[in-house]
């Protein structure tokens, strides 16, 4: 069942998804979209981990995916809380507006 799709196809697909995510972080100025793109990049890396784990018969890759999921959950929670707080402070979600550390 595994052998039907070569490993490099999965790696190439996750490379494409990672690149789309990285481009999205740089192109869009909306902070929520940037968080979504970071999630997409993490998912691309997770796909690589699972593909290697499956093709090399090792559980380590899947453990790493769990850790990445924990980090992603914490990151999105803290990021969105910061975003709501910034929005309360200064009516914007465009990251170009937030150019001063001194509120």
């Amino acid at each position: 069942m595994i052998g039907a799709v070569p490993l490099s196809y999965y790696l190439l697909l996750s490379a494409i998804l990672f690149t789309i995510g990285a481009g999205g972080v740089l192109i869009r100025r909306n902070a929520i979209i940037i968080l979504m793109c970071v999630e997409m990049m993490m998912n691309a890396v997770n796909l690589t981990f699972v593909a290697f784990s499956s093709y090399l018969d090792s559980a380590t890759g899947q453990i790493f995916v769990f850790m990445v999921m924990v980090v992603a959950a914490v990151e999105v929670a803290v990021g969105l809380a910061l975003l709501v707080e910034l929005n309360r402070h200064k009516e914007a979600v465009n990251i170009d507006e937030f150019n001063s550390l001194k509120g």
């Binding site: 069942m1 595994i2 039907a4 799709v5 490993l7 490099s8 196809y9 999965y10 790696l11 190439l12 490379a15 494409i16 998804l17 990672f18 690149t19 789309i20 990285a22 481009g23 999205g24 740089l26 192109i27 869009r28 909306n30 929520i32 979209i33 968080l35 979504m36 999630e39 997409m40 998912n43 997770n46 796909l47 699972v50 593909a51 784990s53 499956s54 093709y55 090399l56 018969d57 090792s58 559980a59 380590t60 769990f66 850790m67 999921m69 924990v70 980090v71 992603a72 959950a73 914490v74 999105v76 929670a77 803290v78 969105l80 809380a81 975003l83 709501v84 707080e85 929005n87 465009n94």
Partner: protein, 182 residues
């Protein structure tokens, strides 16, 4: 057959990833992100990682997308962005750089065949013991320290979010030191 399914789901995945970026409405972006997460879950199922596929649906599609949608609804109307503002020289440079990055990664993963020592996480053993049990045993023996660190990280995240979400208006304003009435 499996290759056909792979190609269909891969195209869907890439299209939904592009849909997240090139979409004016943030709610649509979040829904495209949901489609992207679900296609990743399908890939996990195809890669014999069924437990992880279910976790992906529960955590990403169930929790993270819902959280993002909550914030989108909370922040409301000021989320629109003018599409014409995207066509700038800087964004052109970014797209070229992204294509260069893709070329480098693509060359790396296709030209150099990846091999390695096979582990003991074989489909036969998974069939015998069950996937969740095998992952759980690995997680709580070999990787116990990382599990505890992940727990600490989650605790720090919870405390940080609660601190960020406090309501300032019930506290005295900063700099206004309360003085004793003489």
């Amino acid at each position: 057959m499996e290759l056909t399914i792979f190609i269909i789901v891969a195209v869907l995945s890439v299209v939904s990833a592009l849909g997240v970026i090139f979409n004016k409405n943030v709610v649509y972006s979040a829904l495209f992100l949901l489609v992207n997460f679900l296609t990743i879950a399908v890939f996990y199922l195809m890669l014999n990682a069924q437990f992880l596929g279910m976790v992906q649906i529960l955590v990403y599609a169930g929790a993270i997308v819902v959280l993002i949608l909550f914030v989108v609804m909370l922040l409301g109307e000021q989320l629109g962005e003018d599409i014409s503002s995207w066509v700038t020289p800087a964004n052109g440079v970014i797209i070229v750089l992204a294509l260069i990055l893709l070329t480098i990664i693509g060359t790396a993963v296709t030209d150099y065949p990846t091999t390695g020592a096979k582990g003991d996480f074989t489909p036969e053993l998974i069939q015998e013991y069950g996937q969740a049990e095998m992952i759980g045993v690995t997680l709580f023996t070999d990787y116990l320290l990382s599990v505890q660190l992940a727990g600490v990280l989650l605790l720090v995240g919870i405390v940080g979010v609660i601190w960020l979400a406090r309501n300032d208006e019930q506290l005295p304003a900063t700099g206004d030191v309360p003085t004793k009435e003489a």
